[in-house]
Amino acid sequence: MSASLAQECNEVKERYDTCFLKWYSEKYLRGNGKTDDNECAGLFKDYQKCLKVALKDRGIDKLLEEAREDTKENDAIHMQRK
């Protein structure tokens, strides 16, 4: 079972992962996933509540923000070239 980067989130992450994979294989891949993965939404919320704290503590939220800005810059460069 793949771990969460925050050990305290492992349990809720596993529950979400299992829900997602079931939804993905049984609904989305069969063309029935148009609305959203509502049956996993509650689990996802719990999981994110736990994970957000860990992302902040480790400074990953800032790294993600920087990466997004960097992508925007790169996209702008590539657009100009075309």
């Binding site: 079972m1 793949s2 771990a3 969460s4 980067l5 989130c9 992450k13 979400y16 992962d17 299992t18 997602f20 994979l21 079931k22 993905y24 294989s25 049984e26 989305y28 891949l29 063309g31 996933g33 148009k34 609305t35 959203d36 993965d37 996802f44 999981y47 994110q48 994970l51 992302l55 990953i60 790294l63 993600l64 920087e66 990466a67 960097d70």
Partner: protein
């Protein structure tokens, strides 16, 4: 400068199964023995666009450093933190369009970007890459028996660039501030292209392992559905847990 490298591959599995294997590829070393370098995997967003029906997912993987040792050796310890065994955070974004039969993914490192940024882009499709979508055979994504993937790696070293130096100058670590001077004395461009080419050469080996790993996950999914695969993993990992406890 940016160094890029593209390769094509095909899996003898239908497109939906390949996308499932993509999401499962780091799930367990029991499922994919080539995933033992992946320390953690977390989903930070996942939603279906109601207009297009596409699934957008963002995940963060923590991997044992993929920074090649040859690159580590080029750098002073003030930059590498004294070791090459640090972990790398990788952000992976993916979009799946099950109706049109394609998946696009992009993975890039979040830390060490001052030394080297590696971006891996993959395009999975029911259509071979040399065929334009207009001429595609009238096969639905679910019945087409092959899935084609085109993988492009981009390497960009920004070592010694102004933006990075600025970041270094604001760093709390006093050792790191000396680094800006070190690099300009050496000729940043030459070191940048060395790092890019060493990293590029190293990737070929990793790509084969990554492909083999996907292949093993696919074989498991061929003989069992995902729910059975997960149940089997849980049972086995449960046993391991009981033995160690």
């Amino acid at each position: 400068m940016v160094l890029t490298h593209t390769t094509n591959h095909s899996y003898a599995h239908p497109f939906p199964t390949v996308t499932l294997a993509f999401f499962l590829r780091y799930y367990s070393p029991q499922l994919n023995p080539f995933s033992s370098h992946v320390l953690s995997t977390d989903t930070i967003s996942s939603h279906v666009d109601p207009a297009t029906g596409r699934l957008h997912t963002t995940r963060i993987h923590l991997k044992k450093s993929r920074m090649p040792s040859a690159v580590i050796k080029l750098l002073p310890t003030s930059v590498t933190g004294g070791a090459g065994d640090k972990s790398t955070y990788v952000v992976e974004t993916s979009t799946v369009d099950i109706r049109e039969g394609w998946m696009k993914t992009e993975s890039r490192n979040l830390n060490f970007t001052g030394v080297l940024s590696v971006t891996e882009q993959q395009h999975y499709s029911v259509t071979p890459p040399d065929q334009s979508p207009d001429t595609k055979p009238s096969l639905s994504p679910a019945t087409s028996s092959n899935t084609y993937v085109s993988t492009t790696f981009s390497y960009r070293s920004s070592l010694g660039n102004r933006k990075v130096d600025k970041a270094v100058a604001t760093s709390d670590d006093p050792n790191r501030s000396r680094f800006g001077g070190w690099i300009s004395g050496w000729g940043a461009k030459r070191i940048q292209s060395s790092i890019e080419s060493i990293a590029s050469n190293k990737t070929d080996d990793q790509m084969v392992k990554s492909r083999d790993g996907m292949g093993m996950v696919l074989e498991r999914l061929r003989s069992n559905g995902v729910v059975a695969v997960l149940r089997e993993l849980r049972r086995r990992e449960g046993n391991v847990f009981e033995q160690s406890g």
